[in-house]
Amino acid sequence: MSDIVASLGILVDIKVLLGIAFGTFLGLVMGALPGLTATMAIALLIPLTFGFPPEVGIGMLLGAFCGAVAGGAVPAILLNVPGTPSSVASTLDGFPMTRRGEAGRALGLAIASSFVGGMLGALLLILFAPPIATFALRFGPAEFFSLAILGLVVIAAVSTKSILKGLIAGGLGIFLSTVGSDPITGVLRFTMGEPSLITGVNLLPALIGLFAISQVFQDVFERIYKKKEPLKKQALTSARPPWGALRRAWKVIASSTLIGTLVGAIPGAGGSVASFLSYDQARRMSKTPEKFGTGHDEGLIATESSNNAMASGALIPMLTLGVPGEVATAVLMGGLTIQGIRPGPMLFEQSGALIYSIFIAFLLANIFMFLIQLFGIKLFVQILRVKEAYLMPSILVLSLLGVYAATGNTFDMYLALAFGALGFLLNVFGFGTAPVILGLILGGIAESNLRRGMTVFNGDWTRFFTQPISLALLAATVLLLFFLFRKKSPQSYGSGE
């Protein structure tokens, strides 16, 4: 209880409030720009969080995550171009409404649905996260090792089209996590004589390189093979939420929020799965299913409330177990790690006030997201007119500048550039970048717990398979791989493009 009271302090801390508002605004902007994702928004914000206390930095990152998920609806509704993968389903009913001349009403519905779904999802997060973390307190080295392996396999298997290539990228990330001085013996591993690598590969240049720089390279590269359609100009005066329509669709909101939170909590399922499942469920429940896809309120309400509930659900495994379920939370976890916060059950045990601050910050981010979109919708429509010619090179400069500002080390700029090139190649050839970053984060956890376990168990490695929870986690890993290999076509094992 004292933790909750202590965490309420952030409600009156103007720095924290401004941090959340700024992060949310940036997330909304990035989400609204097609091609820029929540992942990139978080990665670009991380360097700026260094100069602030952890509560402010975390608030900014959570705001960016929350805002980017919601911001994707703007181009989806106005242009039929989803700003983020999770807003793909919003084009189904959002764009037909725009074509009918109801763009303001569609945006109003999307904004309000995102807000309601986000708030309800955040409440479910607050309800379910602590008991899961309490259960995870039983974990020892064997369980943490197995959990890290499960997390890696999940993200490697589901974040790319090819399971094998995802696993290779995960292996590469684990290898990179071993670079530097061995924490037990002090032996230097793979430093190639570079003093900056003695402490290991810095997470920040890796994050920025893999998720921001590589994205710019990829965006330009894609133009080599296909033409991008220029965005059409849109005019909009207001986006007032039709609250009556929302009240009538309370069943749709309830089911979509639940589906969004549950799917978000399942590692690897992701936002587009959540929104399509919610859409389908809403259609089944509807008295007028034939109207879905023609610009129907219920369709848009289902996808948007599910999207933001999914963001809350995705935080559950990341915060409680230290295992992010998808790419944006993997980067968010990287940002928290850089802030000196290691997500997992021990965080709930040792820093209860911080955890509740995170919960409150997430609730606030949803409120800010609603208010900023409600009063600034004209601005977000204008953002769609920003020319890529100015945007993409500026992102490159901000990425490299952010790395330099945070570390003050030119070597890290080279490292970010190298990771950018690596990330670009991995994406182009279908390996994906999320497994690399997760390997980099979880590789250290897996190795330290493997070595600790071997010492505790007097060298008996079979104990990793005989501890019940560890065995269950390893069995889940094997089962997951089995089903994924069975589900995907043989061709997809190799080529992931």
């Binding site: 094998l164 330009v220 490159l396 550039l417 070595r451």
Partner: protein, 162 residues
């Protein structure tokens, strides 16, 4: 993406992992119940190398089957810009300390923004990108962005930029 480039990447990745595995084998091996510092990187590298070789073999088979696949339409302007962007970004990092932040950022942004506009001609960018007005707007943006970024990072975030 042509199959040949994919094969080349698979081969280079396998070569990299193999070289690192060779280096991992040079690391000292510990005794007793503890695990040596070489164990975990070796495990990751063997795992990665074996899977990469499987992917390489699959891609070779795919290459042999689909050699006569039609070549997709390529925008040579985009190829040129992509090469320019990679070169300029590398140059930006290399010369940032020697030339100073504002100069190198202005130069980088001016060239990359103007180049991007040139790439987009015919794709929504209708004005002549080499006109004085277009070049001036690119230059103003580049200079303005560099100065604003310098002021924000130097005075707000108290970061000493090169």
């Amino acid at each position: 993406m042509t199959h040949l480039f994919r094969l080349l990447f698979d081969a280079l990745l396998a070569l990299f992992l193999g070289t690192m595995l060779f280096q991992a084998n040079q690391l000292p091996v510990g005794g007793g119940v503890g695990i040596s510092p070489a164990f975990f990187p070796r495990l990751a590298l063997v795992f990665g190398l074996v899977l990469t070789l499987i992917v390489l073999i699959r891609d070779v088979m795919l290459f042999l089957r689909q050699r006569k696949a039609s070549t997709p339409h390529i925008s040579y302007k985009a190829v040129a810009y992509f090469i320019l962007l990679m070169a300029m970004t590398t140059g930006y990092v290399v010369f940032s300390e020697a030339m100073g932040f504002i100069v190198v950022t202005t130069l980088f942004l001016f060239v990359t923004v103007a180049g991007y506009k040139a790439m987009l001609v015919g794709e929504g960018e209708s004005r002549s990108v080499w006109s004085a007005g277009s070049l001036l707007s690119s230059l103003l943006f580049a200079g303005g962005f560099s100065i604003v970024a310098y002021v924000v990072f130097s005075y707000v975030f108290k970061v000493t930029l090169p």
